[in-house]
């Protein structure tokens, strides 16, 4: 138990450090939010002014914007560790590797939650979707989706952080793995916005929970190998 408490302390210290660096440098938040806004606007322009069409496409657009911007966010958060070989120093501390993973994933989750909530609000305004009527299921979907993206993103950002072509490799590696999450999140959002007429919301949320549990467990078990040369 004391081991778990110690790991939780380490994870929180890493997440706090990332949050502090992010608040000072705004490496991830600003670029990520701008990117998400541009994605939403471009998709909106591509679909045209038909409000019914935009509302029908809103769940898909919401999650495409979150996923694309999320990839950028986790990549930026890991770049903090490449300045002056900080990742090597992090690996030298006598702490559990899974605690390092958990700390980096928590930092990623914090940024993803901010991103998810802002994008959700933006979709409501830009595409005239009533998100107030289904706020709770939408928030649960955003939290579960953000957790999955942070879990997968932290692992693959660790894989690519030392590569020169990391900006290209990260989406190539992440997007296929995120396909089930994207499907579940879009379906859950769509069901929540339409009042869940077929009673499928629970099933899609269960898929997201299962995805998150598997990805967090896999990331925690394997991240340590990425820190070794």
């Amino acid at each position: 138990m004391s081991g778990l408490r110690s790991e939780a302390r380490v994870a929180l210290a890493i997440a706090r450090k990332d949050a502090l660096a992010e608040l000072r440098g705004r490496h991830a938040t600003v670029s990520t939010l701008f990117f998400a806004a541009i994605v939403l606007l471009l998709f909106g322009f591509a679909l045209g002014p038909d409000s019914a069409r935009l509302a029908a496409a809103a769940p898909g657009l919401l999650w495409l914007a979150i996923v694309f911007a999320g990839i950028l966010a986790v990549s930026r958060l890991h770049l903090l560790e490449t300045d002056d070989e900080a990742l090597e120093q992090l690996a030298l501390y006598p702490v559990a590797r899974r605690a390092i993973y958990a700390g980096k994933a928590l930092g990623g989750l914090a940024v993803m939650l901010v991103l998810g909530l802002v994008v959700l609000g933006a979709v409501g305004v830009l595409f005239a979707v009533d998100i107030g009527g289904a706020l709770l299921p939408l928030l649960v979907t955003v939290v579960l989706g953000a957790t999955g993206i942070a879990a997968v993103g932290t692992f693959y950002a660790g894989v690519t952080v030392r590569l020169r072509a990391r900006e290209v490799m990260l989406p190539l590696l992440m997007l296929p793995v995120l396909a089930p999450l994207l499907l579940g999140a879009v379906k859950a959002t769509s069901a929540a916005l339409t009042g869940d007429p077929f009673g499928e919301l629970g099933s899609w949320l269960q898929l997201l929970v299962a995805f998150d549990v598997i990805m967090v467990a896999a990331g925690a078990a394997t991240y340590g190998y990425l820190l070794e040369d």
Partner: protein, 256 residues
């Protein structure tokens, strides 16, 4: 800067009772098929201060990185305080502190925040006091709340040395500790070496300025093209290689 630098107290025990600080047996590391370290067998006594000397590419940094568990050996073994670096890296990391060429600091955090984070990672008792003391010891108390982004290379080096003071390592590995430091900074490294010696901490350091080290080291190892060319002084000795047997093969021969 205070007269005495605070180093974590440790139970020294009788000199003979402590296991060797470092034992390596035919330790080798290949990079892209080329041996950076080609079979090094050494014994370093506990509490000794030993310099690793040799030209660029001799394998000094590779040996330090192997002992710090940053990289894994391609061949051979090494033990720190009797713990195998390959099989028990987590336990080795508790005992080892490493200053590399890079300082591993976060630019957007202040000097104090960087050390406070390190103290949390190291589980340092009374972290606030220890961080303040370490900043004072390395001469950065006046810049404690400035972001590291504005620090010179020498100040970053001092701060990285301060980070080592937060732990309770029994083996300190320093890669070119005098690099980027001014005269005061070099004197600080000398003071640290003295403090570690008095605390019974073993120190392995590389340097291209052996004349600077003459009064602070017990012994030295000269490496050349990945092998031990010579050992001098006390506290370090070359061990016989198991690969010297007629049927054995050295890593260079394996590669060729």
């Amino acid at each position: 800067m205070p007269q005495t630098i605070y180093v974590s107290p440790r139970s020294l025990g009788a000199f003979d009772e402590r296991p060797p600080a470092v034992v390596t047996a035919d330790l080798a590391r290949l990079f892209a098929g080329s041996p950076a370290l080609a079979g090094v067998s050494l014994r370093v006594e506990p509490g000794a201060t030993v310099a690793l000397l040799g030209p660029n590419g001799a394998g000094k940094t590779t040996l330090l990185r192997l002992l710090a568990t940053v990289i894994r050996p391609s061949y051979g073994t090494a033990q720190v305080d009797g713990l195998d670096i390959g099989r028990e890296p987590e336990l080795v990391r508790v005992r080892v502190a490493y200053l590399s060429h890079a300082t591993g600091l976060y630019d957007d955090l202040t000097a104090r925040e960087n050390l406070a984070f390190a103290a949390e990672m190291l589980g340092t008792p009374e972290p606030r006091q220890r961080v303040s003391r370490a900043l004072q010891d390395v001469g950065l108390a006046g810049r404690a709340d400035d972001r590291v982004r504005g620090f010179s290379a020498g100040m970053r080096r001092r701060l990285a040395l301060g980070r080592i003071l937060l732990g309770s390592a029994s083996l300190v590995l320093l890669d070119e500790p005098y690099a980027a430091l001014d005269a005061d900074g070099m004197a600080l490294v000398d003071q640290l070496l003295t403090a570690w010696r008095e605390a019974g901490v073993t120190v392995l350091l590389t340097s291209h300025a052996p004349e600077r080290l003459a009064v602070t080291i017990d012994g030295s190892v000269v490496l050349d093209r990945g092998v031990v060319a010579e050992t001098r002084g006390h506290g370090v000795s070359e061990l016989p290689s198991a690969l010297d047997a007629p049927s054995a093969t050295r890593p260079q021969q394996v590669v060729s």
